[in-house]
């Protein structure tokens, strides 16, 4: 009996063990058409489990011990779905049919500045796939992308080169400046909206990551739902009209998928006077999914375009003009507005990416990307002629001094100047007619000489090829990621003659050297091998050099996941080298070589390949996260690394010679942060404290020095900076339709040490004056300690009320507050030499030994203002958006209407950036501080646009 019972029990247990599975399954369909959705990613939160739906939209996961679990269903063309269940042992929970609703086009086009370094036309929606931290819906990151972009906010204040951007797993931060060229995406937001985003130094599934975070834009043909979409938008920003067309085949039964897109953006005149926009973009994608293990994707895209720029301007110019949209870069030519600063850009890109799912636990990804960025910007040039800039300081009434302390006669002149400048476009804008006439006149009196005025075109092209290999493996609780990266970049920099403005020719010599060395025919040559070369339109002149950059890195990362604890650690080694190749032998470099004849010739080499400099730098990072339960989590991350200086920041004057910054060093970075996150049904959010320390940084600066009366290149080295602050965000679902989101950050991003300043004259006149043996006299201290960085507001906060209503209505109103923005300071104003001038002037004034009608107290205030870093105004911006999706033809087509109204209060007092001028007002005779005209070189500003809107109508068919 007992034996039979034991046998029965054994059999029962056997059946239980071998016949009962635990897990979950379901089918995902398009919520509008009911069709099955393949390639929908299913992520089990906090459990390192993910899968994809098959061609029939079916998914299944077999797993014991799931317990209470939550799953995210994610597809780039659809809104996320979150659901969950309680797993019972021996049961496969059936979710049944889960419907995903098509995405509403995200139309929060971030504000576009026509300055190339700020060109950012991407939207900020973020999704993660397989990221165990699920920062897909990080409340703070979303707010930072959408709410703060109008004020050019930078996450944690870092420069853009500290954030890594990938496209289909290929790294696209350029080798020369370390930045990602957002304008290469051509504004085709919907084709590049799907991203893996890694928050700051946290663990990444596609690369090592960076202190500013990383994102991998995933743009493959299979990721786009079948169908066509067209949209038309009207706006009043840098462009006024936008049209897009996107087509996708979806994943075909053959395993192929194709997609394509076109975009056109245009304005005759943008928000700023005299600006314009004309840009066309294309995209083609093809993907072959051979089977469940292999897929190959090829995409190519590009966006040739032209746009007219606007400039930072003084407050005086804005006040005289009457609004913040003053732009000195344009003028009337024959009754038409002509902009002198036209940017032409085209960055065609091709990316081939291959994915091999080795088995259910291992993946290998390879990507090869190549692009050729053609970028140029025009500018007025002039020779032995009146400065054509309408806002040149001598053309402004403030040049006469402070009107409050003027005699009546001078005040009368001041008012005349103000009046004529404000009301006559031939004064406040470029007088093109007069420039042409000057050249025609010159053709008469000096037919073989240089034209007086020209439009030159400065080219900064970059050809780059990138290779990335990434391995991902899961072994029980261990996830291994490793990768190799290789990059070759060739920067090509030169000027061409864009328009001779009626002149006969331009002679390729440097006029400033001509002024300082009138009897030296060599030094004035831009190319000694072609002296006094006659330049016609289209010819290269001025300077011509290439920068060859090679970069390679290898990294490995381990992640451990336990029930309550996650741990990761990673290391990377990077090789980075750069070498200048001069294609012209500049006369000034010859002068330097002769002056410093005991130095190695290559130090001042101009023509040919210069010194190849390389760095091998390590990086280490680690992080720990403790999960109290499925809803509360605390984490900490640390990163320590050495980072090579970028090629662009390593030379004193790379346009003319190979001379590098002395004592060039790798930057040292130490970064750490601590976060608390919570996710409940109705409320979720995050609180983070962070700090990053930089050491051994270098910066370069160029300006005209009135004391030495020549153009100066100033390098700062030994810079130390500290970025620290807190980030907080929470979103509360008030009802099924309303949610409230609050987000903010308080930061303190500043220089924590003084820097070593070394000045060098562009044409050697200063070095000649002091003598090669006294070159150390050009070394100074720049009092940078305590100054702030200038990467946007260091205090940001927003409150947004969001409505998602029935019948596909949605709306949002939000208010954002910005503070702690600081203007870019000029190092020339804070050297010990400059302070010597201030000290002497203060002493003179306080002792009463000065000659001025301006009261002493005012002069003293002005001296302080001269050396101070300006804090920019704080303020509030309010934005409203609403829209609706209308389904047509039995839900097979849809129309979505989206209206964004930004800065509805038309706050035109917000300054987004600008700079302090490098010149210091001095007396012409003894170079002491000119206390009677301390406001001669005021700060220049970029303002945030007032009320602006974006109305988009999209049609899906």
């Amino acid at each position: 009996m007992k034996q039979n019972l034991c046998l029965f029990l054994l059999m029962f247990l056997s059946i239980s063990v071998f016949g009962q599975e635990t897990g979950f399954k379901g089918i995902v369909v398009d919520g509008t058409s009911g069709k099955p959705l393949p390639n929908v990613h299913i992520v089990v939160r906090d459990q390192n489990i993910y899968t994809r739906t098959d061609k029939e939209g079916v998914f299944q996961v077999i797993k014991n011990d799931l317990g209470d679990f939550v799953i995210d269903l994610i597809h780039p063309a659809y809104s996320n779905l979150i659901t969950g269940a309680h797993s019972k042992s021996g049961e496969i929970h059936d979710f049944g049919i889960l419907s995903l609703m098509p995405n509403i086009d995200d139309l929060n086009v971030t504000y576009t500045y026509v300055d190339e370094s700020q060109m950012n036309d991407e939207d900020g929606s973020s999704q993660t796939i397989g990221n165990l931290l699920s920062s897909a819906d990080d409340v703070y990151l979303k707010a930072a992308s959408f709410n703060f972009s109008a004020m050019r906010y930078s996450l944690r204040g870092y420069n853009q080169e500290y954030t890594s951007t990938y496209i289909n797993g290929v790294a696209f931060n350029d080798g020369e400046r370390g930045r990602f060229n957002f304008s290469m995406l051509g504004g085709m937001n919907s084709l590049f909206k799907n991203k893996d985003i890694v928050r700051n130094t946290e663990v990444s599934g596609f690369g090592y990551g960076d202190i500013g975070g990383a994102s991998n834009i995933i743009s493959k043909a299979s990721g786009f739902a079948k169908g066509s979409r067209a949209s038309i938008a009207a706006t009043n920003r840098s462009y006024v009209l936008r049209g897009t067309v996107n087509v996708a085949s979806g994943l075909l039964p053959s395993g192929w998928a194709f997609n394509g897109g076109l975009i056109y953006r245009w304005s005759e005149e943008g928000a700023w006077d005299g600006t314009f926009y004309n840009s066309f973009g294309y995209y083609l994608g093809a993907e072959k999914i051979f089977n469940e293990n292999h897929s190959l994707s090829l995409i190519t895209f590009g966006a040739p375009g032209q746009r007219g720029q606007n400039s930072a301007v003084t407050q005086e110019a804005i006040d005289l003009h009457g609004d913040i949209y003053y732009n000195p870069y344009w003028g009337y030519q024959d009754g038409k507005k002509r902009n002198s600063r036209v940017v032409s850009s085209y960055d065609p890109t091709v990316i081939l990416s291959y994915e091999w799912t080795i088995d259910e636990n291992q993946k290998l990804k390879a990507g090869l990307g190549s692009h050729y960025n053609r970028y140029s910007s025009t500018a007025l040039g002039f020779y032995n002629a009146v400065d054509p800039r309408p806002d040149y300081y001598r053309n402004m009434p403030s040049f006469l001094g402070d009107p409050e302390y003027m005699d009546d006669i001078t005040l009368n002149l001041y008012n005349n100047m103000a009046d004529t400048w404000a009301n006559d476009p031939s004064k406040s804008q470029i007088d093109w007619d007069m420039l042409y006439q000057a050249n025609h006149a010159n053709n008469q009196v000096n037919p073989n000489g240089t034209a007086k005025y020209v439009v030159e075109e400065r080219h900064n092209n970059l050809f780059e090829t990138n290779l990335n290999l990434t391995y991902l493996g899961k072994f029980n609780r261990l996830k291994v990621t490793g990768g190799l990266e290789g990059k070759y970049s060739k920067g090509m920099h030169y000027k061409t003659m864009n328009d001779l403005l009626g002149g006969n020719q331009w002679i390729d010599v440097d006029q400033f050297s001509e002024r300082d060395f009138p009897n030296n025919d060599n030094i004035i040559q831009n190319d000694i091998n072609n002296p006094n070369r006659v330049i016609k339109e289209g010819d290269k002149f001025g300077y011509n050099y290439n920068m060859h950059i090679k970069k390679a890195s290898i990294f490995a990362q381990n992640e451990w996941n336990w029930r309550n604890l996650d741990l990761y650690y990673a290391a990377k080694a990077t090789y980075y080298s750069f070498q200048r190749e001069g294609l012209m032998d500049n006369g000034r470099s010859l002068f330097f070589r002769e002056l410093f004849d005991n130095m190695r010739p290559s130090t001042f080499r101009s023509y040919g390949k210069g010194k190849e400099t390389y760095f091998i730098t390590p990086s280490f990072k680690a992080g720990l996260a403790y999960k109290f339960d499925g809803r509360n989590r605390i984490s900490a991350n640390v990163l320590a690394e050495s980072r090579a200086p970028l090629a662009n920041n390593s030379y004193v004057s790379q346009r003319i010679m190979d001379r590098q910054i002395s004592n060039l060093k790798a930057e040292q970075i130490l970064s750490y942060d601590v976060s608390y996150e919570f996710k409940y049904r109705r409320v979720r959010g995050r609180l983070t404290a962070f700090q990053t320390n930089f050491k051994d940084c270098a910066e370069t600066n160029g300006y005209y020095d009135d004391t030495y009366q020549t153009f100066i290149n100033q390098t700062l080295s030994g810079i130390e900076k500290r970025y620290r602050g807190v980030e907080a965000a929470a979103t509360v679902r008030l009802t099924s339709m309303f949610s409230l989101t609050a987000a903010g950050s308080y930061g303190e991003y500043m220089y924590t040490s003084n820097a070593i300043s070394i000045i060098s004259s562009e044409n050697g006149s200063l070095e000649q004056e002091v003598g090669a043996e006294n070159i150390s006299s050009l070394v100074d201290v720049a009092r940078t300690k305590g100054l702030y960085t200038n990467n946007g507001p260091q205090l940001v906060s927003s409150l947004a009320l969001n409505f998602n209503g029935p019948k596909m209505w949605f709306a949002e109103i939000k208010a954002s507050y910005f503070d702690r923005s600081y203007l870019d300071f000029s190092p020339s104003r804070i050297t010990d030499s400059a302070y010597e001038k201030y000290k002497n002037a203060i002493s003179q004034v306080t002792s009463g030994n000065y000659n001025s009608d301006i009261p002493a107290s005012v002069i003293l205030d002005n001296i302080v203002a001269l050396q101070q870093q300006e804090k920019l105004p704080n303020g509030v911006l309010v934005d409203v958006s609403f829209g609706k999706v209308i389904y047509l033809k039995n839900r097979t087509q849809s129309l979505n209407i989206n209206v964004n109204a930004n800065n509805v209060l038309n706050n035109t007092k917000m300054i987004t950036g600008g700079y302090q001028q490098g010149r210091i007002p001095v007396n012409s005779d003894d170079k002491s501080l000119d206390i009677n005209n301390l406001g001669k070189y005021p700060n220049k500003y970029y303002y945030a646009q007032g009320f602006n809107f974006f109305v988009n109508v999209g049609y899906k068919f």
Partner: protein
């Protein structure tokens, strides 16, 4: 298929729109504005000399007369030309700032009587808009005119804090643009110098003020402070040493090239007073006067020339204090204006 057609249409439209809007295609070269006497309806209401005579020192228009107790100030006064005055002059520009000896001013020769006038303007590179040979009309109403160091100039009053005096200062360029109109293209045939002798200039200085003159057959020289101190002096002194008299052979009897001969001074040198440097010229009649060159002129470092030359220059006068005797200053406009004399003198 219909969808594909629509997409193709959109593509073609985008491409066409983009291509047709290329920026450089939108702006044609502007033609030169040539001088057309039939279109020229600006009439001069006075000559340069009449303007000088009417306003300078005239109590009716005097804006500021500096205190006579200030030795420097006596030579500086400013008159205001009324805003409703009929004060239009016409002339040909005879100056050029290309070589840097003329700085922040233009000098015109009156179309009617050849009298000259300096116009002070606060900008470099003025010859781009108003080169030598450029016909201009100037409406001086609302501007200021006066003696600057005892020499007439048109500009705007400014206060020289260092010297404690009101002066005719430089017009801001934006204001000058409103008052000076260029008529057509320049013609250097219109700005040819008049031949004069040093004697003629010295005997009729005011007549020659701001005129472009040619003095033929001169030798360059410089000034000695005393026979025991042969260092060249900046300023005029009766003791002149001619360049031709400077020994040009070294101790071995070899010819020293001028460029290597340290005894030959350059046209100008940097000095603590930051003033232009005067050098002598002596004509065939033994009469002397000065050429005055700024240190910032392109030819400042060039050595004074040996031999006999013809010199073209603008006549200026400088007397900044009552106790000074004042100097004629001939301002060479272009280094190429110094040309070897073709006719050799019979006697030295």
């Amino acid at each position: 298929m219909k969808s594909l057609n629509k997409i193709l249409l959109a593509s073609v439209s985008f491409i066409l729109a983009f291509s047709s809007c290329q920026y450089e295609d939108k702006f044609d070269e502007l033609p030169a504005q040539k001088y057309d006497p039939l279109q020229d309806n600006i009439e001069a209401t006075m000559t340069c000399k009449e303007m000088r005579d009417l306003y300078i020192g005239n109590a009716q228009y005097l804006l500021t007369e500096n205190s006579h107790s200030n030795n420097y100030a006596k030579m500086f006064n400013v008159s205001a030309i009324p805003e409703n005055a009929e004060a239009i002059i016409r002339g040909i520009v005879v100056s050029t700032d290309v070589d840097g000896n003329t700085y922040k001013k233009i000098v015109i020769r009156d179309e009617k009587d050849g009298s000259g006038l300096d116009i002070s303007i606060d900008a470099s590179g003025l010859s781009a808009f108003w080169p030598q040979g450029q016909r201009v009309a100037i409406n001086a109403a609302g501007l200021h005119i006066g003696d600057y160091a005892n020499f007439p100039a048109l500009g705007y009053q400014t206060y020289n804090r260092k010297r404690d005096r009101y002066e005719v200062g430089r017009l801001p360029f934006t204001i000058a643009k409103d008052h000076i109109k260029a008529l057509g293209l320049p013609d250097t045939l219109l700005s040819q110098p008049e031949e004069v002798t040093i004697d003629e200039i010295m005997n009729n200085k005011e007549y020659y003020y701001s005129r472009l003159v040619k003095i033929k057959n001169v030798q360059f020289g410089y000034y000695m402070t005393s026979s025991t101190n042969p260092t060249p002096n900046h300023f005029q002194n009766n003791n002149i040493k001619l360049i031709d008299d400077i020994a040009q052979y070294d101790s071995d009897g070899d010819l020293i090239p001028d460029d290597e001969n340290d005894d030959i001074p350059p046209f100008s040198i940097e000095n603590d007073l930051n003033v232009p440097v005067s050098r002598a010229i002596k004509d065939a009649n033994g009469k002397t006067t000065n050429v005055t060159t700024s240190f910032y002129a392109k030819f400042a470092a060039k050595k004074l020339k040996r031999g006999r030359h013809d010199v073209v220059a603008i006549v200026a006068w400088y007397k900044d204090k009552g106790s000074s005797s004042g100097n004629i200053q001939l301002l060479i406009q272009k280094f190429s204006d110094i040309t070897p004399t073709t006719v050799q003198p019979e006697t030295k």
